[in-house]
Symmetry: C2
Subunit: 350 residues, 2 copies
DNA sequence: TTGTAAGCGTTATCAT
DNA sequence: ATGATAACGCTTACAA
């Protein structure tokens, strides 16, 4: 009593009261902490009356359960870690939103880390998450990450792992990817049908499943239409705006009249090069991107592109995590989402 | 010994060993947990030899400190909570990156929540973060949040609070905002100098400091140039693309020949309306946005806009958090960042 | 229905 | 320089 009084008459700085614990509630009501704990957990083995009393007092005292203590004791947290290359890309931030939309209602919350496309940062992120005892990790690996070793450590230590978009195939655990092969196939086939004759490809780093699959889809579409594959008009580079601009010049030199690009930023570079050189898109030259970034429809001409299903992918990745927790086997959890071709002006030949 | 052997010869499912603790390390080396703890903490009062031995053994055993236990004991975490309305807006995700760039090197990591512009979600996020015992909260409140009550709870419970962009002025703690008043002033003055005669304003919700300040800046620029303020051409609405389109029609009816918009999406709507109605921007009509979204420079015509300093704002918000931890007084931590007008085609009159 | 007591993995305060 | 011990706030057998 004395102590409490003292405590409440401190000067302004100390007036911020320490957070009340279940012990404080117990003392205030002359019961034991265990009863309080049970009541607050909604346990049935507490009389309705005391349960009501306890939760009222808890609210009055401004009690908030200390998740640190709770999780330590229970040996598990309700936190899921998410690692993305960059948070400021539409695609990744929408995947995050999609995952959150499933996980929050399920009682989990998300801690998000960026790898900045660097393996070093990615490793650090994994360690951080593991130290924070997350219940699982949902991630898309950095482009710098070429071996799956650090990902293997995750499952080895018993954590649920869900890979999305970029996924190592030799890793146990769930994965949710786009059907990049079929998407690229459709895009390329569309260019062929539109009447373009010499169709090149701006691809990304071939160490990633995403870009190899798209290149394969591109090649298959050509092959199925009896067009010979010409490696000299396949440009595997980073798919930035600058590189798009740069490689468009080379594609023109090589006689291309269309490009399927593995990213909208590269396609943007292509369009800008064409604009600077008075090349008419789509009449003289056709271009298709990938991702449906928010600017794609705003360009002149509007960019034909492949929808990357970001929000849906987040949904499914989160659901896969929940499924793992339910004990579903990994084998059932290799998910592929179809991509949708959004036809706009940049590929509509005269 | 027997137990351990048993443990290591389980079948595949159970082979995932429980994480080693400092007790395991201590047992393995025949020393006490306290020494291990001290050594791993880099405490000097452990002989260099044992310290070396311990850290090697820890690495070998794959030890990772349990942050739950550590934080519980220490009474504080190295986690900072961040609440943003939406993660998939360039502005907010760049603020997050900016904050991360300061906090990670300082040994903190971030847990990010979205309010989806809803007060309900925001309250839940605050509770979640407090339950997770974060060291502080960096946030920009939702548009739905009109009273500062739940924010006051944060500081009241002793947590460091940094508001950014949207900030209640009556709240103790730090804040980092743009100088919206001066920014809007500059934008409007630029339109006047460019020769536009009847300049309207598409503003946002006046319950937010951001939009009131911009409107005031707009008004002051008119007043300083001897132009009468006409409330009938000030449209305070949500600053979406659709509303921009819609209000552009009204602005034209009211005889406007230019608009300063409190957001790039609204300005986009304006441009689209003009395009549909064959109105020549910038010759017949001038438009300026706010935020410098990534599409702004890509539009035709390219959009003049105000740079919102997202990354820098994140940097400063994080630094303000660290300053609070260092005991700096709140009074020094009310920061305003100047906005820069980026002049592009949409405001360059013939 | 409620109380007792042990323990989750650390760290801090004593000793030695 | 190292060890013994208590405590952080919570949950959960087990007992009553």
């Amino acid at each position: 009593m004395r102590k409490r009084l003292y405590f409440c008459t401190q000067n302004k700085k100390e007036q911020k009261m320490a957070r009340p614990t279940i012990n404080d509630i117990a003392k205030a009501l002359n019961i034991t902490p265990s009863t309080v704990s049970r009541a607050l957990a909604g346990n049935t083995r507490v009389s309705a009356a005391t349960r009501e009393l306890i939760s009222r007092t808890a609210a009055e005292m401004g009690y908030e359960r200390n998740l640190l203590a709770s999780s330590l004791r229970k040996g598990s947290t309700d936190t899921v870690g998410m690692i993305v290359p960059r948070i400021n890309r539409q695609f990744f931030s929408n995947v995050i939103s999609g995952a959150e939309a499933i996980l929050n209602p399920a009682g989990y919350n998300l801690i998000i880390c960026q790898s900045h496309e660097r393996q070093e940062d990615e490793k650090r992120a994994i360690m951080t998450l593991m130290r924070n005892q997350v219940a699982g990790i949902i991630m898309s690996h950095s482009l710098e990450t070429t071996d799956s070793k650090s990902l293997a450590d995750i499952t080895k230590s018993g954590l649920a792992l869900v890979q999305f978009d970029r996924a190592f195939r030799d890793i146990e655990g769930a994965s949710v990817t786009n059907d990049n092969f079929t998407g690229a196939y459709q895009a390329t086939a569309h260019l062929i049908k539109s009447g373009y004759k010499r169709i090149g490809h701006l691809g990304g780093d071939l160490l990633s499943n995403v870009y190899t699959d798209r290149m394969e889809g591109y090649k298959k579409a050509l092959a199925d239409n009896g067009i010979e594959i010409d490696e000299s008009i396949i440009f595997n580079d980073s798919i930035t705006r600058d590189k798009g601009f740069y490689n468009m010049a080379k594609a023109l030199q090589a006689g291309c009249d269309a490009l399927y690009c593995s990213g909208d930023y590269a396609a943007l570079g292509v369009i800008e090069y064409a604009r600077h050189n008075n090349i008419d898109i789509p009449n003289e030259f056709g271009v298709i991107g990938t991702a449906n970034e928010n600017f794609a429809e705003l360009l002149t001409p509007a960019l034909t592109t492949l929808e990357q299903n970001a929000f849906d992918m987040g949904n499914r990745a989160a659901q896969a995590f929940l499924d793992i927790k339910q004990g579903k086997s990994d084998a059932e959890l290799k998910i592929e989402i179809p991509m949708r071709l959004i036809v706009r002006d940049s590929s509509r030949k005269g």
